[in-house]
Amino acid sequence: MTLRHALAAASVSALAGAVLIALAAGTSPHRVWLGISGLLGVALTFPSLVTDPRDLLPALVFCVPPVIALAGDPGTTWLIGPLAVLLLVGAELGAASWEAEGKRASRGAGVQRTRRIGQLAALSLVGAVAVTFAARLVWLESTVAVVVAAGALAGLAGVTFTPAKR
């Protein structure tokens, strides 16, 4: 198994794992549809890993709904942050598998890339858990949540649309 194949398998596993955990933990009455969405998301990971242009959007869009559904049950909302990190790790591993394409891709470069994904995951996990607990510990009106979300949205929009287009 080449490095590329290993990273691609890890990517699919991470996304599938996130979907399965969300489905297993969730109590939504629409679990069938959520299951179909998750399955579709995992299935779409395969073409995104091998075809050009490489785009993880379809895979992520269909993997996210089962995780969103966890918000309906206060007992499972704490899982949203860690599962989001797992989704991100899946996407990052997929991108790493793109980079590992080519005969000269070294194992060292793959290890370095995986270490960076680990750092990003750790940072994200801390951020997500911090926000989760902040939402639990501090009394937040839904209106305040809206304002926070809107502010973050505006801030990110400013950053995101700065780069040149392809």
Binding site: L56, V61, L87, A135, A164
Partner: protein, 433 residues
Amino acid sequence: MSAPAIERSTTTTLTPARDGRLVAYTVVTFGVLAAALLMGEAALVPLAIPFALALALGLRRTAPVEVTARVTLFADQVLEGDEVEGLLEMSWSGDFDAHAVIHRLRGITIGARTDFDERVDAIERLEVPFRITAAQWGRHSLGEIWLRLTLPFGLVSWTGRLMVGPSLRVLPGAERLNRLLSPDRSRTAWGVHGSTRLGDGHDFAELRPYVPGDRVRDLNWAATGRHRRPIVNRHHPEVSGDVVIALDARDDGSELARRILTRTARTAWALATMHMRANDRVGLVGLGRSTRWLPPAGGRLAKYMLMETLLGIGGEAADGVTTSRRQVDVPAGALIIGLTPLHDDDTLLTLLRWRARGRSLAVIVIDPDDATAPAATPSERLAARLWGLELDARIAALRRRGVAVVRAPVDGSMGPVISGLRRARQRSGRRVG
């Protein structure tokens, strides 16, 4: 190996392009936050946090990156099978992960491969020594040099072609050289050669009384003293003269160019050998270069000179650079034999210019069409017909100006070429070698 090094350098600005994750992360982040906004559900915000963080980290630098690159080959001419060392140097501002590639190599290999792929992490300057092997004779460009820069955690990349590497002249090995230049059929013309140059030579012929118009330097003073009247020396005309073979063939890597190159080389060598045997001084001129005289003994050195001249012509073409050709001058009085497929307007103009200056000129058309696959589609057939008409027009233009033109037969035999040239020259009242 101490042959001259060749290098090429360039500065290129690479613009950023988005990664396949950027849109996905943006949509997930905005979508989740928008859902949180619409549903008033703060618990959804942690779902957006990892993707938002990845976006913030990944987009911290998005400005274009200026890259300075230089590639050096420590030889510009080698033999088939030789190895040449090279060095690729690139620098930019900022710590990037770099991925450099040299690809589309023709006729040369890097190790056992025909491309080159080097990846390094987080550096500002990349120096990669490499070693290439000249696998096949011809003029080969090192190939396109591409660079991809990414930032650690970055969601954009900077990718671009920096340059086409310098080209390398690869001369055939001794065995292949002999096979390439000495087909048996080219021997048919030996021994049927006449002088190309009229005029006084160094060989004494006879004495005769001075007549007005004789040069004073030709006075034979001893005879003049004995006879008490001016007597001049007469000389045999030189039995040999100058023949310049003008070569026009470029190795741009295509099958057609290679065929023209091979046929030009064979025809040129057959002509050169024939003239050298007749004690002519044979020069080679690649269009765009100065005349090079072959050693009178011929031999392998002369063959290598021919191949070097031939492969030297297409330097610009091999490197993908277009430059205007320098006007080539050849010695006055030399017979010029142009070997050309007549593809190029410049070539035609050069030949006509020589003719207009009164140079003795013959042209052998190396027409590769008879050796190419027949046109398959109607448009190919039309193109072939149009080119045929154009070629006829070019040949007619040369003939109108008194230039002897023959087509080189596909089998490489020189007999028909020589007899054709001789007939054509006789029609125009001149002699040919």
